[in-house]
């Protein structure tokens, strides 16, 4: 039984579909009704749940609903994220707060609720979708980079707190992945990726989903508190 936030499109949708293909019953959380569409496509008993993860009550309610409808919860993928790009001097506090609320407070809310059923099961996988921007920074993304770097510290703390209960917590740091979010970035940055990544291409949601499936599996039980960079070598 798995839960994926931000599952209506992009990387979240890709992860939800991949987990379902591996046999997991997946709850597709999204702030819109788009989670239902992903669930329908995923099949295998997947469900859609509307939830704004930045709101603690909604996150708790959504996790309770997932546990009840799926009969438990073993895997939680914190993928929901937003960007409000702006050079720091022009960035408003609202742009800062919104990004931190969804990208960092969201995972806190979800993990707080999801850890209980995982502790009961003595088995759990928490996967946080960070970003290479959280490792190396990016001009115009102070809010996003801070949230994604924060998520890495969060990942390590959670790994330590719940390690004794068979729960692992890891982060994936995607590079430049072709999604709606990155389609809004300037063409020159896309071209830069093409020219500078050893792989010579942009990443796909399937590239990230494969990493998530690996971390969610039994074989990854001895890997915790790590950041798996999936960027085609871009940050080398």
């Amino acid at each position: 039984m798995a839960l994926v936030t931000g599952a209506s499109r992009g990387i979240g949708k890709g992860i939800a579909l991949a987990l379902a293909k591996e046999g997991a019953k997946v709850a597709c959380l999204a702030s819109s009704a788009g989670g239902e569409a992903t669930a329908a496509q995923a099949g295998n008993g997947a469900i859609g749940v509307v939830c704004n993860v930045a709101e603690a009550d909604q996150a708790q309610e959504a996790v309770s609903q997932v546990v009840e409808r799926l009969g438990g919860l073993h895997i939680a993928v914190n993928n929901a994220g937003i960007a409000r790009d702006q050079l720091l001097l022009r960035m408003t506090q609202q742009e800062w707060d919104e990004v931190i609320a969804v990208n960092l407070t969201g995972p806190f809310n979800i993990v707080k609720a999801a850890a209980k059923p995982m502790m009961k099961a003595r088995w759990g996988r928490i996967i946080n979708i960070s970003s290479i921007v959280g490792l190396s920074g990016q001009a115009g993304q102070a809010n996003y980079a801070a949230s994604k770097a924060g998520l890495i510290g969060f990942t390590k703390a959670v790994a330590k707190e719940f390690g004794s209960r068979g729960i692992t917590c890891n982060a994936i740091a995607p590079g430049f992945i072709e999604t709606d979010m990155t389609s809004e970035l300037p063409l020159e940055r896309r071209e830069h990726v093409h020219n500078s990544a050893p792989s010579g291409r942009l990443g796909t949601v399937e590239d990230i989903a494969a990493a998530a499936v690996f971390l969610a599996g039994e074989g990854a039980s001895y890997i915790t508190g790590q950041v798996l960079t999936v960027d085609g070598g871009l940050t080398l």
Partner: protein
């Protein structure tokens, strides 16, 4: 709620949260020494008591609750305060 009822409910929480058998729980049982509870178990127990009795246990009170008997006394006191 009388003491026997409180004890019954406390035992139920311990069985549920700590995977213990009811007959190994006595008033003298220490959560950490007899049941091997670590800090995470203690938090789970406290949250279990809060839910079972609909009370709030502040962090600073947690260290008073070292044994089953201490938990029963504490919860009884809390329930009396609540109904007063």
């Amino acid at each position: 709620m009388d003491e026997a009822t409180v004890l019954e409910k406390v035992k139920k929480v311990i069985v549920e949260e700590m995977d213990r058998k009811e007959d190994e729980i006595t008033l003298e049982s220490s959560f950490t020494e007899d049941f091997g509870a670590d800090s995470l178990d203690v938090v789970q127990l406290v949250m279990g008591f809060e839910d079972a009795f609909d009370i709030e246990i502040p962090d600073e009170d947690v260290e008073q609750i070292k044994t089953v008997g201490a938990a029963v006394d504490y919860i009884k006191k809390k329930l009396e305060e609540k109904s007063a």
